[in-house]
């Protein structure tokens, strides 16, 4: 009994500090953590992975640049539905997709890099 109390205290302390950490993060990144990992797109080796990501309406997609060169995430629709600023290594961009549809995008620095988000 005496052993479990410190553990409980530790676990609670850990939970509180994690939540605190989460709150100090970008809010949409926190939302992404609550969703499944399928709402993430990794940018690496001049490609978006997965190239096609399927999510439900209301999902927030977070693109994270793991490449050693900057990239952008830009909607190909006209007018553009979303457009990130330039993302250096380690930076991310999030967008919440509320409407059903197919959203094609590309990297405006390296236009051969394309991907799409399918909302259904």
């Amino acid at each position: 009994m005496s052993r479990s109390i410190p553990f409980a205290f530790f676990a609670t302390a850990l939970a509180i500090s994690s939540a605190a950490f989460g709150l100090s993060d970008n809010r949409s990144a926190l939302m992404a953590q609550e969703k499944s990992s399928a709402a993430e797109v990794k940018i690496d080796n001049f490609s978006f992975a997965p190239t096609t990501l399927t999510v439900s309406p209301g999902a927030t997609v977070t693109w994270t640049n793991r490449d050693d060169i900057p990239h952008t995430v830009v909607s190909t629709d006209d007018p553009k539905i979303f457009k990130s600023k330039v993302l250096d290594t380690g930076e991310n961009f999030s967008f919440t997709f509320s409407k059903i549809g197919t959203y094609a995008y590309f990297c405006s620095l390296h236009p051969k890099m394309t991907g799409k988000v399918v909302v259904q």
Binding site: D67, D68, P70, T76, T89, S108, L109, P111, K112, T114
Partner: protein, 322 residues
């Protein structure tokens, strides 16, 4: 290597006296330090290490300038943690040339992230170069976040549209083009209708004997479309130049030297002063290529270009920073 005998003129298909095989062979030597000079359409090659032994009249040009490219100020990853240092070495290399270039062409990706302090840092380093005039064209890394506004404010005073312009030096006509704006998904570099119309007007009344130098960031020939290494409407631009006897196209973007001769046009891409990239298809993607630290300077470089009045083509010489 003593003064090489001039190559025999073989198979003069184009009937213009230009020894293309000799020229191409010379282009291959250029990376190891050869100076190729056209005299009356015939190519002479001189090893750079023996250049002092050649009478100055024979190897001198009437106009010479340097090309640097892809300085990527702000890049700090493993492929080169000190791009300011290697840019400084490139400037030292330019300053060590016996015939000081009159000016410098920078074919873009001056900065890595279009940041103000990155532009400032490059300008500061280039202030130490003997040639005081620098002419820039933007790379895609120079027009981020603001559609190229900052680039135009700094370097676009004499330009039109997204920053294209032309100028003349000693009878040679220079054209700076911008092919990194409004890139379309899945596409290549693009010049666009307005710029092409401007180019057509710009060269329309020039004598066909005027040597032309076109400089732009992304290659104006199809180097490797899979990696975006090409410009979708460059053929139209080149069509306006087809009657000129000497056209030299200088590009950057691919971070390695490459050359091609097509009719009256010599295409040349410069090495980066920051980091190398893989050869077409030799890697999964065209990203920064890590080489052992002691080899880095050997894969970065500058380009020295000379023009001798009356000769067919400009002499283009690459040297590494090693």
């Amino acid at each position: 290597m003593s003064n090489k005998k001039i190559d025999e003129l073989l198979h003069d298909h184009n009937h213009d006296g230009v020894n293309r095989r000799g020229f191409l062979k010379c282009m291959a030597w250029a990376g190891t330090g050869a100076l190729c000079v056209m005299k009356g359409g015939v190519l002479n090659a001189y090893s750079l290490s023996r250049i002092s032994e050649i009478p100055a009249k024979e190897s001198a040009g009437e106009l010479s300038f340097a090309q640097i490219s892809d300085s990527h100020m702000g890049f700090n990853k493993a492929a080169n943690p000190d791009v300011a240092g290697t840019l400084q070495i490139a400037v030292n290399k330019i300053n060590a040339l016996t015939a000081s270039p009159e000016f410098i062409l920078h074919t873009g990706d001056i900065t890595h992230l279009s940041k103000s302090e990155e532009f400032d840092a490059v300008e500061q380093i280039l202030k130490g170069a003997n040639p005081k005039d620098v002419f820039y064209v933007p790379g895609e890394h120079d027009v981020l976040n603001d559609d190229g506004k900052q680039f135009l404010e700094r370097y676009g005073k004499a330009s039109s549209g997204a920053g294209w312009y032309s100028f003349d030096k000693k009878g040679v006509h220079f054209v700076g083009l911008v092919n990194v704006m409004n890139l379309k998904a899945g596409g290549l570099g693009t010049l666009g209708h307005d710029q092409l119309a401007w180019l057509e007007r710009d060269v329309r009344h020039l004598k066909h004997s005027t040597p032309i130098v076109v400089f732009a960031h992304i290659p104006l020939w199809s180097v490797y479309p899979e990696w975006g290494w090409g410009t979708e409407d460059s053929a139209q631009a080149l069509s306006y130049l087809k009657n000129f006897g000497s056209v030299t196209v200088l590009n950057g973007h691919i971070h390695q030297t490459m050359q091609r001769v097509e009719g009256n046009v010599t295409f040349h891409t410069a090495a980066s002063t920051a980091f190398p990239q893989p050869q077409p298809g030799k890697a999964d993607s065209p990203g920064p290529m890590k080489v052992p630290a002691e080899q880095l300077k050997g894969v970065l470089g500058i380009t020295d270009v000379s023009y001798v009045q009356g000769q067919h083509a400009l002499a283009v010489v690459d040297s590494s920073l090693a």
